[in-house]
């Protein structure tokens, strides 16, 4: 499904300008050495929201710029870096800059990124400087038994078939890794008079629920690296907790794998199974998007 995100833009701009006003007011109140944690947190949250929203709604230049502010503020609020007057000044300049950028975007103009680029470099210099305390040990998140959801955008180049490769095999292999949901895109199929029967015009978006790592997904497409466009994004996942919900999901993932193996077995040795197996429903859900 495609949702028009522009309906949310105006609210995003309004709340972002409010956030910038808050940031500015709180920054002007700050006395390095006497700052209180709640003020820092408020400034951080404002930057965090602007970064999150701009990323979500596609304003990537804003998201990238705000990222350095957020990183600096995060270090300060975690106690990893002490706030200095230089930081406050830099942040105030950044707030001004963001106001300009968001204003241009709101007016549907091409934003002028020159000032932001300069400021971003200054932030990066600050961040590269030795922090005051070693960053707190981040305990390794054991992803061992977590089930992740990946979004995989797969676009074979037109000539893929001529390399002897078949997307269907790759899709089957992907499906072996877990639960696969498929969306096929037909928009690249040319007019019938231009259609060549040995070219690949389809591209797909998959959502894969798997306890495997991203490396396992990349492996599926190893041989065709140069002949396809692949984008893999981690969307989220479930913790391996002993909740009935997660247990059901884990069972489903294993069942999907079992069914595939069963199907493969059946194809190879149809007489090996004594009882009549239940008809196997495909775990794939094919949704064709309108051209």
């Amino acid at each position: 499904m495609s949702i028009d995100l522009s309906q949310f833009f105006e609210v995003f701009f309004e709340e972002s300008f409010e956030g910038l006003d808050t940031m500015e007011a709180e920054l002007l109140n700050l006395e390095p050495g006497e700052e209180d944690l709640e003020t820092i947190n408020t400034i951080f949250r404002a930057a965090h929201s602007i970064k999150g929203g701009s990323g979500t709604f596609g304003f990537n230049s804003v998201a990238e710029f705000t990222h350095v502010l957020e990183t600096l503020l995060d270090q300060i609020r975690q106690g990893e870096r002490e706030l200095t007057t230089e930081h406050v000044n830099l942040l105030l300049k950044a707030v001004d800059c963001l106001r300009g950028l968001l204003g241009e975007l709101q007016a549907e103009q091409e934003p002028d990124l020159s000032h932001a680029t300069t400021l971003k470099k200054q932030f990066e210099i600050v961040l590269e400087m030795q922090a005051d305390s070693a960053p707190s040990e981040v305990s390794e998140v054991t992803a061992a038994a977590e089930v992740n959801t990946f979004q995989i955008d797969f676009k074979p180049h037109h000539h893929l078939f001529k390399t002897g490769n078949e997307p269907l095999f790759m899709i089957s292999e992907l499906a072996e890794l877990g639960e696969l949901e498929t969306q096929a895109f037909l928009d690249d199929i040319p007019d019938i008079k231009d259609l060549s029967s040995d070219e690949c015009y389809l591209h797909w978006r998959f959502f894969l629920n798997t306890s495997e790592k991203e490396a396992a997904i990349k492996e599926v497409f190893e041989w065709v690296e140069d002949d396809v466009d692949i984008k893999i994004e981690l969307c989220g996942g479930l913790f391996d907790e002993d909740t009935s919900h997660t247990a059901t999901l884990m069972k489903r993932a294993t069942t999907a794998q079992l069914k595939h193996r069963l199907l493969a077995m059946l194809k190879k040795h149809p007489t090996n199974l004594k009882a009549n197996p239940q008809p196997i429903k495909s775990q794939h859900q094919h949704q064709s998007l309108p051209p």
Binding site: F8, G52, F207, N209, G236, G237, T243, H245, T246
Partner: protein, 117 residues
Amino acid sequence: MKKILAVDDSASMRQMVSFTLKTAGFDVTEAKDGSEALAIAKQQSFDAVISDVNMPIMDGITLIRELRGLPDYKFTPLLMLTTESGLDKKVEGKAAGATGWIVKPFNPDQLLAVLKK
């Protein structure tokens, strides 16, 4: 119709999540911070809760911890919204009882893909 509680201090995010889920057939209630969410959750029962982590008054992780303490929400899917750079929050979330997480920024399809589980 399944009922979802969406919690985020950003109005535009709430609207986006709300719209996406409503379009997909869910009944959505919004809250702008953990404290409001907890109050709402005690008055009505929800099939799932999606919450941002960084919020004023009560943050997402505390909210999840509080919800897990309520008998009605012992087994309810509770999802946290995290950012790429905040993945270490996952550990805290897991300890608080979160069912899973969704990475911000996300597009509407990704939200639905994780939620479907």
